[in-house]
């Protein structure tokens, strides 16, 4: 098999989405603390919302991958994710204030705020996993191995996203700067994927099945 550059790109993108998901999740605790405190239920709310959105994202991404999958659509999902991450920085303060004023119990307040801030971007980021599998698998024999490799890469990204964000990024940058950077990286990689697709119009993945 010839060296497949789009495949390397897909792994890189999967790595980045894993990195961003956990980076944002970790920042979640710091974003919510001024309004909902730092009690253990804050993490309960955040982890619940992330797990819920990822599970829905997997379902939707899998469904979407059945309709003429392409690197271009894959890149577009990244781009949309990049945009959906922005409200966390742009309107987070206002959204949390509104929730704070309307919900007295900080458990439900933090749950609602997490939902409003993180649900949509995480669903979209979650869609990327099954979609990546679809783009990479060329025959059913190797599907398990490809999925395994992909989980390896994206979960490794998550691990790194967690440690880099909590050890270094928060020590160097403002929370919003980190969010904007995640958004910028997701958007650039999304555009890169679209570009690669345009430059290689022959890469028709749906015909590769044996």
């Amino acid at each position: 098999m010839e060296k497949n550059y789009p495949n390397i790109l897909i792994y890189l993108l999967a790595f980045t989405s894993g990195f961003s998901i956990m980076g944002i999740e970790l920042l979640g605790g710091r974003i919510l603390a001024p309004f909902f405190g730092s009690s253990v239920h804050i993490w309960g709310s955040i982890i619940t919302v992330f797990m819920l959105s990822l599970s829905l994202g997997y379902l939707l991404g899998g469904k979407l991958s059945t309709r003429s999958p392409s690197l271009s659509i894959y890149g577009q999902i990244f781009f949309i994710a990049a945009i959906m991450v922005l409200p966390i920085a742009l309107f987070g303060q206002w959204l949390m204030e509104t929730v704070f004023l309307n919900v007295e119990d900080s458990r439900y307040g933090s749950l609602l705020a997490s939902m409003v801030l993180f649900f949509i971007p995480t669903v979209i980021l979650g869609m990327l996993s099954p979609y990546s599998v679809r783009l990479l698998v060329t025959n059913s024999d190797e599907s398990g191995q490809v999925a395994g490799k992909l989980y390896f890469v994206s979960t490794l990204g998550s691990a790194l996203g967690t440690i880099v964000t909590s050890f270094y990024l928060i020590l160097w940058f403002d929370i919003n700067t980190i969010i904007y950077s995640f958004s910028g990286i997701l958007a650039s990689l999304g555009l890169l994927a679209i570009l690669v697709h345009k430059l290689q119009p022959s890469t028709k993945i749906e015909n590769n099945y044996a």
Binding site: R30, A33, P34, F36, G37, V40, I175
Partner: protein, 303 residues
């Protein structure tokens, strides 16, 4: 003076012997930490986790429950020089409730609200430290930041806010930011005072100082280099205000000394140890202020 030296020696002896034959009379794991109550002859201490003496939260002598054992509780009393009659007091971080009990005795007419995030600590304070509550002394199991935000919405105000939510091991980072201090400042009455008991090491010392100064202007502090413990005292309207400076006169100091010596507090000594940062700023001017966006307090607080 001699008396305070003796009591210091006595305390030193008691602390040292703690290492040898302290008896754990209560132990539990709460949502937030390990809680230990230790008895050592006459001295009873509340400890969080077990590692060092630095995590001792509150101690009292069973034979003299009114005597303030801990240095920092005494240091906190220096704040009374600036506001001698606080009517409404907010204490964030209960510990064994020693501060609340002492203030309740000093000011029986005043209202005291204690905020403690850990319900288990409240229970231990009631069961083992004689923490007193009444219709004037209330306790809320809540995060300090949320309590203050909600109190602002209810248009409440306090004459004295005491932040005692930090210990040597872990700092609640959202209680050390500019935004938080602005909220606390807004909750102070016109002559209101805020005192913080903190443990800042190395880099955090400068960041914390810069943050307090950014919100309150110059402040007073009393430090205890031995365990990097310091008390920061700030005022809603700053310390250039004449009325506040006038309260720092000999007469007030003597009066307060008379009331507080019973609790083992040496007010004239504290007065001499108090430093105003106006002429004694010991951190660089360009130190980055801690904000809700940038609050790596625990990462900065490493030895």
């Amino acid at each position: 003076m001699l008396k305070s030296i003796t009591s210091l020696l006595l305390l030193g002896l008691l602390m040292t012997s703690t290492l040898v034959k302290a008896e754990v009379i209560h132990q539990e794991r709460s949502l937030y930490r390990n809680i230990l109550v230790e008895d050592n002859n006459d001295l009873r201490c509340l400890k969080f986790n077990t590692r060092s003496t630095q995590t001792q939260q509150s101690c009292f002598l069973k034979s003299q429950p009114d005597h303030l054992v801990f240095n920092y509780t005494k240091l906190l009393m220096a704040s009374l020089l600036f506001n001698t009659q606080p009517k409404r007091i907010l204490i964030v971080g209960l510990g064994g409730g020693t501060m609340s009990n002492t203030l309740a005795q000093l000011y029986p007419q005043s209202e005291i609200n204690n905020i403690e995030i850990d319900p288990a600590v409240i229970k231990v304070a009631r069961d083992y430290f004689g923490f007193l509550e009444s219709n004037k002394i209330k306790t809320y199991a809540q995060d300090g930041r949320i309590f203050i935000k909600r109190a602002l919405l209810k248009k409440e105000s306090y004459d004295w806010i005491i932040l005692d939510a930090f210990n040597g091991d872990y700092i609640p980072e959202h209680l050390m930011t500019k935004e938080f201090l602005q909220e606390a400042k807004a909750l102070l009455s016109d002559n209101g005072i805020l005192s913080a008991n903190t443990f800042s090491l190395s880099k955090l010392y400068a960041h914390e100082s810069a943050t307090y100064k950014a919100v309150f202007g110059d402040f007073y502090q009393v430090t205890n280099n031995a365990n990097s413990n310091r008390i920061i005292v700030v005022s809603k309207n700053g310390f250039s205000n004449n009325r506040i400076n006038n309260s720092l006169n000999k007469q007030n100091i003597d009066k307060l000394d008379k009331t507080l010596s019973y609790y083992g507090v040496d007010i004239p000594l504290l007065y001499r140890k108090m430093i105003n940062t106006k002429n004694n700023q010991d951190w660089p001017n360009d130190t980055r202020v801690l904000t809700d966006q940038f609050s790596p307090a625990n990462l900065l607080n490493v030895k």
